[in-house]
Amino acid sequence: MGSPMKVRARNDGGTTEVKILMSHPMETGRRKNEKGDLIPALFIQQVSVQHQGKVVLSAQWGPAISANPFLSFKFRGGAKGETVKVTWVDNKGDSRTDEALIA
């Protein structure tokens, strides 16, 4: 079970802007630890963002997305109090889902 994300969603007239901070090391598998051993690859591969049950963004990532990833985008519609739900799944099968209410 991954660490909590920070999800913010704000409606501004016709569109809702979503900002997501995820807690993840995004290890490439090419870095070495202090003993000189390779640190195994560990990175988010799939991201899905839903608004009221409907997908508003999906993404596939490789290890070249920065550690503790940040993502923002906008979708049309959305109203205060409705829910935005974010799920990620990494290459080791770990996943995390967090929600935020649209402000």
Partner: protein, 263 residues
């Protein structure tokens, strides 16, 4: 297909040339500005708050009775008023040092356990300090210089700032006593100048993108000292605390901005 890749590369060169009139400092300013939104320090803050409020350690208690200088349990504004003298330990302490006092006396942690790998990304100290510092956002830096030991720490810290040694003859002052100086493209705060000192001290702790971690001021200073090629100072040692007393004193009145984000 070869044609497409070649075209892609050609266009890249053209774009690079077009944009080439942006100066290095303008480009770096844009880089920093684009990072301002979405500071991963917020994730450390969340974790720090959880660590603060969760019963832990051999005594299975929270840190909510920890006295950071403004009374047991008061976190709001405490960071902006540290380091300071604490009667129970009879010494001037910074936020890490004080947290360790609470973790050992209240929660019953062994000192070695509380400090194990404290300097690595994701440590408990990193998260707790981030949480505590965030709760001083908007508060002016106001470290007391009243108790004799606070007065002494300020003087020792100032002298340490100018003390040169080691194979490169470095002191803190070597890089931090002139305005508008840089190491490569990184601006250096001038701690002789209060305005510059405020610009720096109000944005630490800070998330360092090169480290994927929040660095506390103490972590920052210990790394400066490593770069000066000194031996490694001990966590919570008097020299590091005295130095922070001096730096906070130079920056007094600066309004804490909350954790920053840096290279």
């Amino acid at each position: 297909m070869r044609r497409i890749v070649a075209a892609a590369l050609g266009l890249g060169v053209a774009c690079g040339a077009l944009g080439g009139d942006q100066s290095a400092s303008e480009a770096i300013a844009q880089y920093r500005q684009m990072l301002e939104d979405g500071n991963p320090a917020e994730l450390m803050e969340l974790r720090g708050e959880e660590l603060w409020t969760t019963p832990r350690g051999p005594r299975n208690v929270t840190l909510e009775q920890c006295d950071l200088g403004l009374g047991p349990g008061v976190v709001e504004g405490a960071y902006a008023r540290l380091p300071r003298y604490f009667a129970d330990t009879d010494r001037v302490q910074d936020v890490e040092s004080r947290l360790l006092t609470c973790m050992t006396t209240l929660q019953g942690f062994a000192y070695e356990d509380a400090t194990r790998a404290w300097y690595k990304a994701g440590s408990d100290l990193e998260a707790l300090v981030t949480f505590i510092a965030t709760r001083s956002k908007g508060q002016p830096i106001d470290t007391p210089v009243k108790h004799a030991k606070e007065v002494e720490a300020l003087a020792v810290g100032a002298d340490f700032f100018y003390r040169r040694s080691g194979p490169l003859d470095f002191a803190c002052a070597t890089c931090h006593s002139q305005d508008d100086r840089r190491i490569r493209l990184q601006e250096l705060p001038n701690f002789e100048n209060p305005a510059s000192a405020r610009t720096s001290m109000t944005v630490w702790p800070a998330y360092r993108v090169s480290q994927s971690a929040v660095w506390t001021m103490e972590r920052r200073l210990i790394d400066c000292i490593r770069q000066m090629r000194y031996p490694e100072p001990e966590l919570g040692s008097d020299a590091i605390i005295a130095l922070q007393v001096y730096l906070q004193h130079q920056a007094r009145g600066g309004v804490m901005q909350g954790p920053g984000i840096k290279r």
